[in-house]
Amino acid sequence: MKVWIKCSVICALLVFIVSGCARQDEKNKRNTAGSGLRIVITLFPLYDFSRAIIGDKGTVVMLVPPGMEPHSFEPRPDDVARISKSSLFIYTNRYMEPWADRIVKGIASPQLVVVNAGEGLTYLESTGNAHEKHDHAEEHKHRQSAVYDPHVWLDFGNAVKMVANITQAITAADPGNRQYYENNAAALKKRLEDMDKRYSKGLADCSSRLVMHGGHYAFGYMAHRYKLDYRSLSGVSSESEPSAAKMAKMVRQIKASGVRYLFAEEMLSPRISETIAAETGASVLRLHGAHNIAVDEYNKGTTFFDLMDVNLKMLQKGLGCSEK
Amino acid sequence: MQREVIRAENLSCSYTNSMVLDRISVVVDAGDYVGVVGPNGSGKSTFIKALLGLCSLSGGSISLFGTPQASFRQWERVGYLPQSLAMQNALFPATVAETVALGLLSGKRFPRKILSQDRYKVEQTLALLGVDALRNKLIGELSGGQQQRVFLARALVNDPELLILDEPTAALDPETRERFYGLIGDLNRTRGTTLLLVTHDTGVIGGYASKMLYLDKSVLFYGSFDQFCHSSEMSALFGSPSQHIICHRH
């Protein structure tokens, strides 16, 4: 008898604590104030763009919690519920969130509009280092020959198109505020274009164009746009384990080229980059891929532009670019 | 001079709510050969475990060699052969020699190291039990009877004054059983080792043991085999024909 009572009390306590925490969790999923249109997005860039466009006329909820690496994200049941209760579900592209299709098939909500923010963009194949095998083949099983790089938002030209896609969807869902949304979108596009210009100028005159990255292949699009020679240690997904041979090769490349800076990515442990740096005498600089942000930054309201401004400074330092 | 080896007074031991042993009082003197018999579930094994500190008492006291059980530390004076020590893991990688050497741990203090001078004790005991040819074989590879002898060797390696055996012949064939009884009978006669042997074979043990302890949760009889055969209480319990059959052999 006594044992049963003890167990029931403990179970009740646990349920209480967990539901209390769940409520807290809901509150923490910060949204912009105001009712109106309810949008659920997946990654941070979409979050930043959407909230800029929607202003105070709706709420934006970020599905992947701050601090979590999105390449390994799997949606939970309450995430699915959250999506089904909203008007718009916006994801980045098919290669970044391969689970997006699966999820929306399971949602019977008629008013839900699913938006692929990456519609109509040109996708580059992820080459990493040429002729490399890719470790994340299982995520792209159905695409036999080509493996596409999902990190499109780091090319600001693409970002502008993504903003257009998002605006179109938002306006379709709430045509009454069309002018408001389009004004916001125009301002956002202008900021993106200005930043693109700053990057072009800032990276024009550098002593090296070699970007050595000890993380996964995230900056392909950025490198493509500004004509940088980008080498990363791992493939397109953050889950791949770097091989010893690749590490040694990068060490040799760094020593041969004489670059003094190596880049590490956000949020993941920089162990591997630090190891390579220690081996070569280089220093480590952080480059933020904007997949997701730290909870402290999230709470402070850090924007995509804040992150990219810092990235520019880091690139300029690492590549020895003259200040303009 | 008779020394008390075991003194149990009003011993009670219970698992959960059922009373397995009920106020047992027994005294075993040095040199005794006691057969512990009784039906299944009578608490024979529990009695043994209580003596060895493997079961917690709910009442009464036990002392070994004059020392209360709880503070008894001279385990080199005690050898124990547990019930059906079948090797659950046939892959257990210890050799016969290593297994018997483990018996030496009783006489050591931390850190318990087995030294080269201990080897001769191990060899002697192996020879005594006729398993010295098997010394480098893995115990998992031996037959039941051979394993039995190896564990008996382990129990004997320190030349203990008290040897406790729990149903040692249950899995043996009659021939091996006879040899086994012969062996431990020798120990009792030549070395004066006190023996406490739990068994089903009431008839067989009667021929060897100097005393019989009949347990069925409490002590129903404690005395010599002769007394056992002539006891009217035992007749009442077994029925005369059974008692006659049991005692018939002798």
Partner: protein, 280 residues
């Protein structure tokens, strides 16, 4: 795809550290593993790794990173290992069930704590699981200290451990403090899992705790030889695994594990041949 000639790989500092720390860790894991496997507690490495995950989530929630998170992890994992023993004793469960319970509790705690926080500043898993290729000099020192601690304890308690592993009952009647010995074994395992996980990651730890011991059990002709063989397989698999991962451009941890599996199959084969050899 030989990009680097064999001799050259030893030039790299990270390779030297990987080989040194990796060897030390593999030996201590293999030796502990013999006793764990025989006591049907093979998956304790996995279970304790899950508890470490939960404790790391707790530490990150308290904003303790890297070295200071160990202040939380080490006590929590040590207590959990003792908890497993307690469950086995009081709950009358065998090792695998007790481990399963504690392991599930660890994961659940980690997941709940991770979602309570509303997010983190860093990715939990990438900080938790190390990589043999990224071992720093300080971590090599940790590996050396851990190795010395574990091996000294193993030597001091060797006979006690063998006795308790063979039969707890008999060991008790021999005056061996069985509870203490079991506690020492699981606590050493807990310490090794927490520290070594940060150095070489979870896959290697759990494999090294089980496979070398399992292989040695196939062919050993005495307990001493069993322990020595297990340790030897540990070292060989790590050193050869690192070299092979270079030569064939493969992930290093996985190469080490695959080598262990190959050696296990070789051991089984040897055993098979011995049996048929003695039968003919």
């Amino acid at each position: 795809m030989q990009e680097v000639p064999l001799m050259e790989i030893f030039v790299y500092g990270f390779v030297q550290r990987a080989m040194l720390a990796g060897s030390l860790i593999s030996v201590l894991c293999s030796v502990l593993g013999v006793f764990l496997v025989l006591r049907r507690m093979s998956l304790i490495g996995d279970g304790l790794a899950h508890v470490t995950f939960g404790s790391a989530a707790m530490a990150l929630a308290m904003k303790l990173y890297s070295a200071s998170s160990l202040l939380i992890s080490i006590p929590v994992v040590l207590l959990s290992s003792l908890g497993i023993l307690k469950l086995m004793e009081k709950g009358r469960l065998s090792g695998d069930a007790a481990i399963g319970i504690v392991s599930a509790a660890g994961i659940a705690a980690g997941i709940i704590l991770a979602s309570i926080g509303g997010g983190y500043n860093v990715d939990l898993l990438s900080y938790l699981f190390g990589n043999i290729l990224s071992i720093t000099f300080e971590e090599v020192c940790i590996a050396v200290v851990l190795f010395v601690v574990v091996m000294v304890m193993m030597l001091l308690f060797y006979n006690d451990l063998v006795a308790v592993t063979l039969s707890e009952e008999l060991a008790k009647v021999s005056g061996v403090p069985t509870r203490l010995i079991s506690s020492v074994l699981v606590c050493l395992t807990a310490l090794s899992v927490v520290l070594a996980m940060k150095l070489v990651g979870i896959m290697l730890i759990t494999a090294l705790l089980v496979i070398p011991a399992a292989s040695a059990l196939q062919v050993a002709r005495s307990f001493k030889i069993c322990v020595l063989l297990a340790g030897l397989q540990g070292v060989v698999s790590v050193l050869a695994g690192i070299v092979i991962s270079f030569q064939f451009n493969l992930p290093t941890s996985a190469s080490v594990v695959v080598l262990n599996l190959v050696l296990f199959m070789v051991a089984c084969l040897v055993r098979r041949l011995r049996v048929t050899g003695s039968n003919s």
